[in-house]
Amino acid sequence: MSLFQIAEPGQSTVKEACKGRAVGIDLGTTNSLIAYVKDGEPTIIPGPDGRELIPSVVHYSDDGSVTVGAEAKNLASRYPRDTIASVKRFVGRGPEDGEATRTMTPYQFAESDGRVVKFAVAGGRRAVTPIEVSAEILRTLKVRAETVLRDDSAGPEPSEFANGVDGGIDSTIDGAVITVPAYFDDAQRQATRDAGRLAGLQVLRLLAEPTAAALAYGLDKGTKGTYAVYDLGGGTFDISILDLVEGVFRVKATGGDSALGGDDFDRTLAERILDEAGYSDGMAGPKHAGTRPDRALVSRALREARAVKERLSDSESTEYALELPDGRRFVRIVTRAELAEAIRPLLDKTGRACRRALKDAEIRAAELDGVILVGGSTRSPCVRDYVAEVFDREPLCDIDPEHVVALGAAVQAELLAGGSSEVTLLDVIPLSLGIETMGGVVEKIVHRNSTIPCGAMQEFTTYADNQTGFDIHVVQGEREAVDDNRSLARFYLKGIPPMVAGMARVEITFLVDADGILRVSALEKLTGIENSIEVKPSYGLTDEEIERMLMDSFEHADDDLVERNLRVERIEAERILNATRAAMKSDPELLDDVTRAATEKAMAELETLAAGEDYLVIRKAIEALDLASKPFAQRRMNRAVGAAVKGRSVGEVEREISH
């Protein structure tokens, strides 16, 4: 039913142009990957060095240069503060977040205005946000893909569109699907999308990692049934229960911990060893009093812990060796059993989340058709044994657990770019959304594991006479007390006319889109006063900040933003004109005379204005065409859903999302 499946004779369609040019990105805590669908097969795009995984490490050197990947990783021990690894742990988090201040991070935090964490890097001369650091990784992946895709399209049949309208945009990538842990909250998702934008990517969709993995498995094996996906990465843990039927992948329940992963195993082991070696001050639960380890030592201890953990995947015991600052060498044997015992409390946390997810999905472990393993940390036999114990069966790992997410994301990117109906994903919101009410109690408005997109309305009233406003505090989480949940946004709703307490009727609408991102609007119903509210995330960057970063970013330093915007709007205009023409041709009977006249007029205007030089004018004309063709689009959708639906449309929602 997508517009783009209808080809105009003699015209290159966008669908064609999109082919193979949408990418899937697994932006991981430890490693990242990029993939695309090549000749029907999802394929990882390797780097120039031939390696598929790129370490998610960014180094900012004193001279202002930025290094990403393996090279940056090598610099970590020499410049622990200037080299950011595991940035994903900080994405969408505020400075007062426990995560940001925990011990055993070698980073130096810069002063910030209280909304986002900032790292002091480049010898303290520069302060960067996690969004910027993530964008550096994405940019490196983008370059990787562009090189490969440019070579691909230089084949016998060059895409007309690629060289088409005004020389095209300065990228050979049309769009990207970026994966996020299913358990990422709203702020973390927003931050990830912002990072994509900052890297110059059009983010088609944020996709939950376990869902991506299931997609890779489902298409590969024609699977059917109900599956659990156990996804343990470097810094995040997710559990999802999905059911796969006739081309629909439906997430039944999801759960996890967005700050638990293989890094914690390393940390646990490193803390134990450092403690024994007499360095423990300032760490949680030391057995012996000791000196506080310096950052370089912490870095070395963590690296050795990781190496030990990895070696224990193949052998029963191995040696842990650590150079101490006083020149001594601390050496001792670590067995697999000891590692299993040390990380057991962490694994038990994952076990609890698994049981809760099963309960939410209303299914017993025995009824599952399989358990899929995802994430580098599931390579460890300690983890595999534990998963087998929880689900009482051997888990599946046919596809490389470190590749499977990126491969699934590539499949989804291809489906989205092509408007295909082959597979549909029905995902859920991982954490409940609510509002603070009197007494610091949360009133949940959208419950966890609701299928997205979803919306909900709730009425509130005033508690004092002549009260003219409310503080609206939006939180995410499962706890009853406000302070135990994640604060997403605060805003003040004003303009309520003075009246007796309890008279005002304010309707608050929550809308969660297919990316799992929330929008809120409010309406005073007695008077019809609507407050359109821009929800400023408590954690995250404003649009202006993103724009400024785009301007400042290295890649776009000499790029003329106005020129760039003009090209983008012209392509958009062309696209919409083509799509509308095709739709009018395919469903003329759904067009009444008034809508037809209005649409044609708006089309003619857009065509004229698109030739002009002002991108804002073109953008306005595009919006005008959208507005004019709205009744037509609605009718097409009604037909798509195949039912004569009575009743009014959700006008409130529409106003909010069509901004």
Binding site: M1, L3, F4, V14, E246, G247, V248, R355, Q412, L416, A417, G419, S421, T424, L425, L426, E436, T437, M438, S450, P453, C454, Q458, E459, F460, T461, T462, Y463, A464, Q467, G469, F470, D471, I472, H473, G502, R505, E507, D513, A514, I576, A579, E623, S629, F632, A633, R636, M637, N638, V641, A643, V645, K646, G647, R648, S649, V650, V653, E654, S658
Partner: protein, 186 residues
Amino acid sequence: MTQPEFRRAAPRGGQEVDFYALLGLAERYEIDRAELESRYLEKSKNVHPDRFVAAPAAERVAALQRSMQLNQAYKTLKRPLARAEYLLARRGTSIGANETLEPGFLMEVLELREELATAKQAGDAAKLRQLESAMRHREEDTLGRIAALFGTLEESGDSSVLTDIKREVILMRYIERYLDEFQDDI
């Protein structure tokens, strides 16, 4: 701080979207779960926003709206209590947040709550299981009565039954809330 006071909005029947029509089902209390499931999935496929990523904004908005409505419809019709409340609302019988129970049952609920709190505090697993299973039976009985009453209503069109259904639905709410208390121990 001027936090709002919460007031549960009564489900709005009539002017809202017709969930049964949306899913192409006959408006009856008894529902074929498999049919509901397949209709929902089939229709969701057609209008999911994923299929309109590259479409003009008007279509994207329409797709988003329809998907939301489908999700809402499925969620509402899937659960017997939500379905019953929805059907009542469509017949102009709304149930507020603070509807009261018959005094006799109210006392019983209070006593059962107290027993539950005591058992939780004492960590008495056997007692907890016993309380849960007793309430599960009660749930089953109540749902049976609701189904029978809707049967009468749909057959005879006798709207005096609505009052009886309402009473049972209020009872069901208390039962569900009580059963929720058994959710957190994992």
